[in-house]
């Protein structure tokens, strides 16, 4: 069993106003405020409703395909051990959320949110998407429940994630390319917020990561925590012990918080969040904890990439899913209190991690978890052989093969 939160717990955030320390909150236009409060009330009712949990669990099992496997990666472990000093070379395990229906962890959250939307009597769904995984997952649950779906996607991302755009259309969603700004995830989120303000009466906004106004960071975390809860039980039953280090890639931070949260009160378990360093931290990147400072955007206070005047700076990452100038507020807090460590890896390192997993384990990862793999590659050789690293394989790479081919100079 997962330890119950106590007063000294890292697991009892946010406070009743939606604050994680100085972060989080509800920084939205007045039009949205009553709606955000209504969502909070409904979520508080749903949390204690056994019927809600039963339906969520049932869909995760029979529709999404959970639990996802916990997998020991023998050849990757061996490969990384080759460069290690004697006695070093940690074991690498993966939580296989790339095997979920639709190919990423995003669906866990979408199932939870669409059930909330239905409880609230909303009849139209909107979403933003970067890599398109959240868009596909949202379009999927909308098809499953028969609700119309509009997905906002930056025009740049529409181009680099073409397979997912087609998937969303097949699933019956309308995909709206957003040309404002750099035409990536941040701009898609602005446009989704504009739609929401204009359609508050019937529309539910399914946010794709653990960010946005309270209660989104909390409820996305809770829905994604199925990852960490399963992994914790699986690891205990397989090895009789807890992992030593958890590693996950961070865009907005939903797969990472989903893995980390159930372990936060296990003091022996260290955690590492991996941001996208893009072309390098001294150049264009998307590492808001490493290169940003606290500010307010998209409904929450968190670390943001911004200039001296508080103007938001566009992120850059090879991975469309990590290309966001902010981060979920709980990560900002976990960094500040020192419970979780954060690092970053570059586009080139991620491409290398991508290929490494393909060749050693026969698994094609998405470019997002390829960042986690790249971090594991650096750390595993430095840790003792009996150390267990558990990385979140939060998405599969089908959507990325065209852009990876392009980066590798291969014409398809």
């Amino acid at each position: 069993m997962t330890a119950t939160p106590t007063a000294n717990s890292y697991r009892n955030q946010p406070d009743e106003h939606g604050h994680f320390g100085q972060f989080g909150g509800r920084y939205v236009a007045e039009t949205l405020m009553p709606l955000v409060l209504a969502l909070e009330q409904e979520y508080n009712r749903a949390k204690v409703d056994p019927a809600f949990k039963a339906e969520f669990d049932d869909l995760l099992e029979h529709y999404v395909g959970r639990p996802s496997p916990l997998y020991f990666a023998p050849r990757l472990t061996e490969e990384l051990g080759k460069s290690a000093l004697p006695g070093k070379g940690a074991q690498v395990w993966f939580k296989r959320d790339e095997l979920n229906h639709t190919g990423a962890h995003k669906i866990n959250n979408c199932i939870g949110q669409i059930l909330l939307a239905i409880r609230m009597g909303k009849t139209r769904i909107i979403a933003e998407t970067g890599a398109g995984q959240h868009g596909v997952a949202t379009a999927t649950v909308c098809a499953r429940f028969g609700l119309p779906c509009v997905v906002y996607m930056g025009a740049t991302d529409v181009a680099r994630q073409a397979p997912n755009v087609f998937r969303m259309k097949l699933l019956g969603a309308e995909v709206v390319p957003v040309t404002a700004g750099a035409a990536t995830l941040k701009d898609a989120m602005n446009e989704a917020l504009r739609d929401w303000v204009a359609n508050v009466h019937d529309t539910f906004y399914i946010i794709g990561t653990a960010a946005g106004p309270h209660p989104y960071p909390e409820l996305v975390r809770d829905f994604q925590s199925v990852i960490g809860k399963e992994a914790r039980a699986q690891m205990l039953s397989r090895t009789g012990r807890l992992p030593d280090l958890l590693v996950a890639a961070i865009g907005g931070g939903s797969n990472a918080i989903g893995l980390f949260h159930p372990f936060l009160d296990d003091p022996s378990v260290k955690m590492l969040g991996v941001e996208a360093a893009g072309h390098g931290l001294d150049k264009e990147h998307a590492a808001s904890l490493a290169g940003g400072r606290a500010g307010i955007l998209h409904g929450n206070k968190t670390y943001l990439l911004q200039d001296d005047d508080g103007q938001i700076v566009e992120g850059h990452s090879i991975s469309a899913g990590l290309d966001y100038p902010g981060i979920g507020p709980e990560h900002a807090w976990l960094k500040e209190v020192g419970r979780v460590d954060y690092t970053s890896v570059t586009d080139i390192e991620a491409l290398d991690g991508f290929q490494l997993l393909c060749r050693t384990e026969g698994i094609i990862p998405a470019l997002e978890p390829a960042h986690a793999i790249a971090a594991v590659k650096k750390i595993a050789p430095t840790l003792p052989k009996d150390t267990i690293i558990l990385a979140n394989l939060c998405g599969r790479g089908d959507k990325d093969i065209f852009s990876v081919a392009e980066h590798l100079g291969v014409e398809l």
Partner: protein, 258 residues
């Protein structure tokens, strides 16, 4: 009496919005005053204007593209205060540029530049500590927004700690696109006036003198933004003339409404 309360005491006020740093702002502000605008609402440009429609989004990006900094906005405001000592000027914008050097810094700059009030789109009453206390301590009005979704139960919280005027956003939506039915505006204003002891101004979607006149019959102020910003987009460096003309027609309509 503050500049804002003195102005509203004279009858229905025309409140005009333009984005600072988009076009020749000093000349545009002078044209607004000459045309009869009673309150100037100066937009602080932001990279992510989430509550704005295409016209004001584009104005924000034009301004930032031209290199506008927060310091320029305060320079524009301070120079305006020298040229027009009696005309109230309020800043409108988004939270991040306002709090980024600390709310006290921002409030002090406002006071120094002669800014009368601040409208911040994305700080609702629930997050008031982020900016409200600093503004009130500096004697700068915090002007809050009420919307069609602000019900009677919420309204006291919206009014608490706010001053200057209450800005009623007449549509559930972004700036510049739809316009609300006049009957719904009449109904909303009388509902707000039950609680509000400060003037109530109505904005979003108001473009023509006819609309402005109808609103001025019931409200203390009418806000026009996108229609003016469209003229700046169209005429660029030569925008002051056309902006002044539209303002004259709007001001006449508002001032003769009652």
């Amino acid at each position: 009496m503050t500049r804002l309360s003195t102005t509203f005491a004279k009858g229905p006020a025309l409140i005009t919005f333009v984005t600072g740093g988009d076009g020749p702002t000093d000349a545009i502000l002078d044209a607004l005053v000459a045309g009869g605008a009673d309150v100037i609402e100066l937009g602080m440009p932001f990279t992510d204007p989430m509550a704005d429609g295409p016209a004001i989004q584009a104005a924000n990006l034009r301004s930032l593209g031209a290199g506008t900094k927060t310091a320029d906005i305060f320079r524009i405001a301070a120079a305006f205060r020298v040229r027009h000592p009696e005309v109230p000027l309020v800043l409108m914008g988004y939270a991040n540029p306002m709090i980024t050097r600390g709310p006290e810094w921002f409030a002090a700059e406002c006071a120094k530049a002669g800014v009368d009030g601040v409208i911040c789109v994305d700080i609702p009453p629930e997050e008031d500590p982020e900016l409200g206390p600093a503004l009130r301590a500096a004697g700068v009005s915090l002007i809050r927004l009420a919307t069609p979704t602000t019900d009677a139960a919420r309204l006291p919280a919206v009014l608490e700690g706010s001053s200057g005027f209450l800005y009623y956003v007449s549509v559930t939506g972004i700036t510049g696109l739809q316009q609300a039915a006049q009957t719904s505006i009449d109904e909303a204003v009388s509902r707000l006036k039950v609680h509000a002891t400060i003037p109530v101004a109505v904005g979003f979607g108001v473009r023509t003198p006819e609309q402005a006149a109808a609103i001025a019959k019931v409200a203390d102020g009418v806000v026009v933004g996108s229609a003016l910003v469209d003229l700046v987009a169209k005429h660029g460096a030569a925008a002051a003339g056309p902006v002044g003309e539209l303002t004259r027609a709007l001001a006449q309509a508002v001032h003769s409404a009652r």
